[in-house]
Symmetry: C2
Subunit: 227 residues, 2 copies
């Protein structure tokens, strides 16, 4: 499958690497390819410069946001939530129309240090902003409640016996994403929360997630336990 | 133990009823006792008027917020988060000083319908507001991530194999609350998230909780699954 991954940070790297490894044709999109490939310092401790990473993942190609979006039959939005709309504007509405857009982004604002605050919450969410501005895209919010290493390998904890969530207005897109999450990464337990406004719930879970990360490290998730 | 429960809604009823049932001396506090006892209509479907409820729980007494706060060696704040500070002002700082104050409240604003938004979040929380305004109280935020019926009976799901959280600035108060949660209700798995600012995390989890409630009904909780 032709997949466009928008974003070159840790989340974009891990998703693109796994999707290419299992045989997909993956193009990663960025704002300025030359500037990206010129940077050699680590993005942050443990996260290599994209140029370093892609040299070790030759099956993955890099292009502009527009090039990656045009390439993909399905798109994954793996930027910071603070620049999600900017990235999609550069990708171009014509390259998003009719396509499933898996929104993994969270509106974390680290400008005040750790823990970050959210740059949008409570009465809106990145998921909703994206669906509003690109009404012809089929936005499904998911994967944003776990660390990148858990996104692509849920089985590393409790044999995968924990939950992921999907939010979106298009039931067929959500069903397809649930299938893909299973095929690609092995997700077995995915809860449909409802329309895209429910993305507020998963984005606003991040402040709790960040505190749990301080306790547990990043490789954890939650299981919904019912009566 | 002498316990003051501030708030007469479903949460206050369930907590007060259980605490009295296991032998504590419980006084429930309200703004206006006469007005409260005069109301006979259900608070909402399934939640009786306090007067109806207390007639069936004769071991529980009712008093003003100040009376209940003065009575309690330990206090539970079970009002709506939107009126938490008002209730505590009426309770009186002199009746809070030095005491553990278990803050169960969430700042849910239903004025716009369901789902509610939060009246404070992101850069502040009810837990922090309470600790700031009553610096001599020993605030521990907990129990606010589950429905009242789960608060007092975690064993009803998965034998209690799921998690509760505590947030607060006083380590001794948090340790004591963890003991009490176990003695009173049987909570075995309680995660200390850190200081009172971590209450933002549990309060901001409510939008996800509310959507999960729409899927599962109110009797559920989350288990943190680690590697």
């Amino acid at each position: 499958m032709r997949i466009g991954v928008l974003g070159t940070g840790m989340v974009g790297q891990v998703l693109a690497g796994k999707l290419a490894e299992i045989g997909n044709d993956v193009v990663v999109g960025t704002r300025d390819v030359d500037a990206l490939m010129a940077r050699r310092e680590e993005q942050r401790p443990g996260v290599p410069a994209f140029a370093t990473w892609v040299a070790q993942h030759p099956a993955v190609r890099v292009a502009t946001f527009a090039g990656a979006a045009e390439h993909g039959e399905i798109l994954l939005l793996a930027t910071s939530g603070q620049v999600s709309l900017d990235a999609l504007r550069l990708a171009g509405a014509e390259h998003l129309a009719g396509k499933i857009l898996i929104d993994v982004s969270n509106p974390l604002d680290f400008s005040g240090g750790f823990p970050p605050t959210l740059s949008v919450c409570n009465t809106d969410s990145v998921g909703e902003q994206v669906q509003r501005e690109f009404p012809e895209s089929r936005v499904v919010k998911t994967l944003n409640t776990v660390n990148a290493v858990v996104m692509t390998d849920p089985g590393r904890m409790a044999g995968g016996d924990h939950h992921l969530f999907v939010s979106g207005n298009d039931p067929h897109a959500k069903s397809r994403v649930k299938e893909l999450l299973s095929e690609w990464f092995g997700w077995r337990n995915v809860i449909d929360l409802g329309d895209i406004t429910t993305a507020r719930g998963t984005e606003m879970y991040l402040p709790l997630w960040l505190r749990l990360m301080s306790v547990n490290g990043p490789a954890f998730n939650i299981k919904v336990v019912v009566e």
